[in-house]
Symmetry: D2
Subunit: 152 residues, 4 copies
């Protein structure tokens, strides 16, 4: 878990399921980006349920999903993702991290993520304040969100 304070790079998304989003447009808001793969057990048991809880609990936090496929690309394409999001009733917009021919997609490389699930928190000024790989404790995540929401 690291807390760099540089500006969060823009999400490089080839396709949005739900309303398209950009970090530039979300300046002024606290944003949580949950990165996942649809066939990653830890994403389904921990990452996505946690993101859903944040979505349902904090009206003033913007929650986005980012499908960062870095393995088994052939069975986790956009058509499979759409079925997955519908079956699991994911209520927030999800972007497909752009694949430029490398195994690891563009945004995942830019952010230097170690795997899935990873959780990103971005403050109202657009700075990356948390990048955490693996399960994040609800109390700790709540505290981070509370601190970011308290910032003017």
């Amino acid at each position: 878990m690291t807390s760099p304070a540089s500006l969060a790079p823009e999400l490089e998304v080839s396709e949005w399921i739900g309303t398209p989003q950009s970090l530039a447009d979300l300046r002024g808001e606290v944003v949580l980006v949950e990165t996942f793969q649809m066939l990653c057990p830890g994403c389904i048991s921990h990452g996505l349920p946690m993101a859903k809880r944040v979505y349902e609990t904090f009206r003033d936090v913007r929650v986005l999903g980012l499908h960062t496929v870095f393995e088994h690309h052939e069975v986790m394409g956009p058509a499979a993702l759409r079925v997955f999001l519908s079956e699991y009733r994911i209520p927030f917009p999800v972007g497909v991290d752009r694949n430029d021919g490398e195994v690891v997609p563009v945004t995942m490389r830019t952010y230097g993520l170690q795997g899935t699930p990873s959780t990103l928190l971005i403050d109202r000024a657009g700075r990356l304040r948390l990048s955490a790989f693996g399960a994040v404790d609800d109390l700790l995540l709540g505290a981070r969100l509370g601190m970011l929401l308290a910032e003017g």
Copy 2:
């Protein structure tokens, strides 16, 4: 939850992942067949974990999976299933319920299953003793297994 006592029809499987199985060959054993779809949330949160617990708890119960795809066939084919079974470390053999062009696959139709997950219990004489749709309570399932194991 119903308890018919007729002979369990043979599984109609187009492809096995793991060692091929037939109910005929398993005569003399207590068998649990867990039917599921890889993108069915209830199968992942309840059905398959329960089948894994039975596999790990009872050495003398044979546990099989049956992939009964009746929706979104295009994204739940055998290649996707193989990735799923590997990611979720499913330790027992899984058959693909044969699709003959109908929406609902052959074995699922033969057994009259209502959906996924469904759990089938077959006794040593090859008779179907339980066909239950949805989550099955561990105490109740344990009791059914105990009764079947106690039969000569």
Copy 3:
């Protein structure tokens, strides 16, 4: 976890909360005796909830509690126990294991129990078939109950 098959000694109870019970009168029934102490964390998190699930799941299993106080006797007397059973809504009869001046009460000594919670299973013939210290897995307990219920 041991499975002796000798006749289960009678419960030595100084006071029943709920209808008084005796193993002699319960001959012909499958009986589960959950031994516990009201200030034992494992009894409250595992043992008693498990006994309640058995009570609610199996109409033909008789569930009894036995308060086997072997420490802190001064704060776990019958008056405190009555409040505890009421607050936790324990639905089955509970006996107080008779204290004859020793630290460990009589029935607990007779059965050679190692601590609390311990679970006893007694078959229709009145024989002790399971004496297990600590948390018992629902699948395994269900199987034991199923086997005992299947016996004539």
Copy 4:
């Protein structure tokens, strides 16, 4: 759940188990006071485990327990409480809310608490910022703590 912002009245405690505490001395710190009764099921399943998680997660939050006995006084006295705190390994100081002969003890009356468990949050300036009856969600509690910690 209410969020008054008046100064938190001092805790009226007849006896401390652990180091004695006063809100006056804790000025400058964020304080969580978990009020409970040792035979209250919701306190044991939700309130106290949550307080323990806060204690273990946030080094800079002071966690206190307050035993607010308003029923069954005869079996929840200080001797029983000491056994309880030891068995449940409660790691923070616990005060006994002073009983002045009324059914409801003094601090509980002063704060107007509805029952147990109730959770109080007090900010660095000594003001009561949260008084919540019942289970508090970890994400929400974390956010409240994060906001209070972020205040100068």
